[in-house]
Symmetry: C2
DNA sequence: ATAAAAAAGTGATAAATGTCATAATTTGCA
DNA sequence: TGCAAATTATGACATTTATCACTTTTTTAT
């Protein structure tokens, strides 16, 4: 298919530089490198669907993916984004359950596939790796619980401000304070947990209040302290 | 203090029967038993507060605790309950972060304390234990993400029905279909993520619609299929 | 380059839910 | 047991947010 291309595993990719692999030995790293295959995935390509069986995880070498759940009426709820250095899909591998999320490419991505057996044997052989994987999961759990509370208790306005700041933290701003990632209004709504129209209206309000500037999908944050205040975000 | 009493580690407590310890060897189990101290905690006793440093985890031998986060305005959001056989507080131990939730006793509980060093050394020594702990965390993460989506997309009415079914799954019904756990309306609201008054009104509606019967804090489920339908709960 | 599709934007309106005030009832403790 | 405190209950009302219908603008694919 056109949307997935096999790409050579570049020697330049230094697995050790990924936090998650920092505990591996030379040999483990070598055998890992050999068992991995890299592919280039185009925007909108779906890596795996919620409910499907996964036989491995993916390491994001480059690019951005959104990880989302599909609600009862088909509406997406974005759980998180994955970017360079992130590991995705291992939750299902470890818990031995069907995928509970869908992963879709937002910005063209280079991914390395890590077969289930390789992952589990690494966990069993290298306690340090097991520990860092566990840390990763625990952090994710903490974040998920935090966001759960926010969605339950904050207003849409507060959550939108918070989401903008979250995107700033995750993807940084460029020199002129514009969010490096550009999402559709619908995608923003699917993060915030609201209707697309509400996001559109609130973004206009934020713009009128001189908190942000809008240029198509590019969002420039011009009053971050105020956004922090609106979002009730503690730092 | 009066609310916490030390109790002897009963020989009758069979750690192996707890799923999480099923992978331990005889000796590991023995040393674990020796390093653990058991305490009795009365209702409303707080085990640890959100934001505090935890130096160990607890195994629930008996009783029920609620694990919750406190939102910006002081409102509780109940993340989950812990009951016999559950391990709590290990997330913070593993991720080496401050506690991101508060744990409070709902039904008087006997707990065994598991110091941080014991837990981490077990993880490093026994890959099977590491794996089952990881599975546990991954399952929790899956549930948290599911509930996040529900709160973001379902109505309060749907969520209340879902929560009643969740309580049924977690704590079972007694012979006459009454939920074994009794919570205040406020606690239900703190699970559903809504105002106490809304829960009160909706419970009355459910009662009028002959889905449940109310007797103080005791809730009897008399039309479960309909509750499943209302809550959009797939089984 | 252009047509079709998707996304963004806007207004009107409806529905869901929260808030506040207050009364009745239950619970827990001294 | 009895009383204070907490919880439950209910009504009136305000507010937030979703929905629908439609137009304009932007993006995408041929």
């Amino acid at each position: 298919m056109k949307n997935i291309q096999s790409v050579p595993f570049s020697d330049e990719v230094d697995l050790l530089s990924y936090e998650i692999f920092s505990g591996l030995t030379e040999e483990e790293l070598l055998s890992l490198t050999q068992s991995m295959s890299c592919t280039l995935h185009k925007r909108n390509n779906i890596l795996y669907h919620e409910g499907s069986r996964i036989n491995g995880a993916y390491i994001v070498i480059k690019g951005i993916l959104k990880i989302y759940k599909t609600g009862f009426d088909g509406k997406e709820q974005i759980i998180r984004f994955a970017k360079d250095g992130d590991l995705i899909g291992f939750r299902s591998v470890v818990s031995d359950e069907l995928a509970c999320t869908t992963s879709k490419v937002v910005n063209d991505a280079v991914l390395c596939y890590l077969p289930s057996e390789v992952l589990t044997s690494l966990i069993k052989v290298n306690p340090e790796f097991a520990m860092s994987l566990m840390k990763l999961t625990c952090r994710e759990l903490g974040e998920s619980n935090k966001f759960l509370t926010d969605i339950a208790q904050k207003t849409v306005r507060e959550r939108l401000a918070e989401v903008l700041l979250l995107l700033m933290d995750t993807f940084d701003l460029d020199e002129d304070c514009t969010l490096q990632i550009s999402l559709t209004r619908e995608e923003l709504a699917n993060m915030v947990g609201t209707a697309t129209e509400s996001v559109i209206r609130l973004l206009s309000e934020f713009k009128a209040d001189k908190l942000i500037e809008l240029n198509g999908r590019k969002i420039k944050l011009i009053n971050i302290p105020k956004l922090i205040k609106i979002g009730n975000v503690y730092i």
